[in-house]
Symmetry: C2
Subunit: 310 residues, 2 copies
């Protein structure tokens, strides 16, 4: 079974949407990536840090899904990273109410020995120096390195971010971040500039408007599944990344055709994530539901046009 190494936050979130609010619940980029990738036949590990306020039942959740947690450092007397946010009525924008870095402030990632030769590496959104620190510990070149980042690092650690971007195969950013990173409004032009920074594949996430995959002159697009109600968008991008990397790690196939499938699986899993608060929907999701939704994605996008009769 192929190995997927995941780096990112494991955290507490408190979320407010127009539909309700939560207390501190399980959150963090690596959490969503891990739970999503667990739908594929891969052996995965999370590298992260939590405080000793982090419940054992959450760690068990990972273990039950065949996710190695030996790379999750538990800091004695430390407090777990906490984020709190409130979504606006359209759910497309949000205000951060509180961010407490806590144990994340001094995080030194340690890659478990068994994952230093991982086949696929997913660098979840974190300080680019931490992401780089993980790459430096690898003993073999992975088949694929995927990087997620965000505007915050473009604002305050751009030089370091550009360095790590140079070292990855795939980057996933949202449309606004792609524009900020390149100064180009057109996503086609932005993707071309990001290609030139290093990544052979550029994934631009547009939230409810889907995701674009760019490679050379090729472009593939996957829509988001139109839903009756988006309940909580938290973690959708990370769930997408988990589906993407999980599928690639399982299939061991880096053709563009297979990358397209990975984008579809990422969108598929993300469409479940947003149906309930936090990780709730992912936790009770089963493979049959994922397969069924794949048929919905096909119905939504596939057409068959014979050449026009003259």
């Amino acid at each position: 079974m192929n190995k997927l190494l995941i780096v990112g936050t494991v955290a507490f979130d408190a979320i407010e949407t127009p539909f309700g609010k939560t207390d501190k619940i399980l959150g963090g980029a690596a959490t969503y990536i891990g739970l999503s990738a667990a739908f594929f036949n891969v052996k995965s590990a999370i590298v992260s840090v939590v405080g000793d306020d982090f419940p054992q039942e959450y760690l068990d959740l990972f273990t039950e899904r065949n996710i190695d947690i030996s790379g999750i450092e538990v800091v004695k007397g430390g407090k777990t990273f906490f984020w709190s946010g409130r979504y606006h009525n359209d759910l497309n924008s949000r205000d951060t109410l509180d961010t407490q870095l806590n144990v994340l402030a001094d995080f030194n990632p340690v890659v478990p020995a068994d994952f230093k030769d991982a086949d696929v590496v997913m660098l979840g959104n974190l300080h680019p120096i931490v992401q780089m620190g993980v790459l430096d510990q690898l003993t073999a070149t992975p088949k694929l390195i995927v990087l997620d980042s965000m505007n915050f690092w473009m604002d305050c650690a751009l030089a370091e971010l550009l360095q790590v971007i140079k070292r990855v195969d795939v980057i996933t950013v949202n449309d606004e971040e792609a524009r900020q990173l390149t100064g180009e409004y057109s996503l086609v032009k932005a993707a071309a500039k990001i290609h030139a920074m290093g990544p052979k594949y550029v994934v631009i996430k547009k939230g409810e408007h889907g995701a674009l995959l760019f490679h050379d002159k090729k472009i593939f697009f996957a829509p988001a599944l139109p839903l009756e109600e988006v309940f909580d968008p938290t973690g959708a991008g990370d769930t997408f990344a988990g589906g993407f990397t999980g599928y690639i790690a399982q299939s061991e196939n880096l053709s563009f055709k297979n990358m397209k499938n990975a984008i579809i699986y990422g969108s598929n899993l993300a469409s479940f994530c947003v149906e309930e608060f936090g990780t709730a929907r992912l936790q009770r999701l089963d493979k049959d539901e994922v397969h069924e939704r794949l048929q919905q994605f096909k119905a939504l996008t596939q057409f068959d046009i014979a050449l026009e009769q003259e």
Copy 2:
């Protein structure tokens, strides 16, 4: 050859985008619809009104494309409808600088005798009473009636708009208009409410984010083609409607499968429209380019996932 009846404005536009500005150029919903539908094997007619300031060469443009202009009333001493607008930097929003209704203020549409039994009727954006006036002149039930409208009529002629909506098979509105018409943020819920108002098919246009087709519980999505540069979005929605109705009129097939194809052709033609100011790109477009771009739409959206190996 099947008949397509088009009702809508034929106008002068003056457009400002971040890339430049135009003097008075050819514009109007029926103009874009007609030029776009002309790529299909249909016999079409435009019902509209212009002043005698409207150049003969523009009328010739229609005639050359096999568009019957006997329903375009030329008002002696009258001035043609004029619209002027300035797009913002992102090209997603615009300010109207000037609107001069002129001859449109007293427009009484007259359907040419030969088109009273049209196979497909495209009611372009106009006062709903004018749209209704056209339907009342038909002597046979068309195979398909398609309605375009906009927020302006929802604000100032809602009762009349709802009456005409009740009588059509397909409605095309943009996402904001769908929300305004129904009070639902979710486009899935909005489409369901619009279905209940009459139309069996609901097309929601999302501009650069593509278009959705809703029918019963079925949904189909066509992306906009990602372009290096969108030069001028004016007329894109009408060009989409022209491609949609032109394809349906040519193929005489109202299956959902064929409706999907029509949505793709609408998106295809709209992707050309935005490449240059006004109707310039549509005017010099040829069928080979349309076919070639169809391949791009396929590459952009089609995938082939075998069921996951266990």
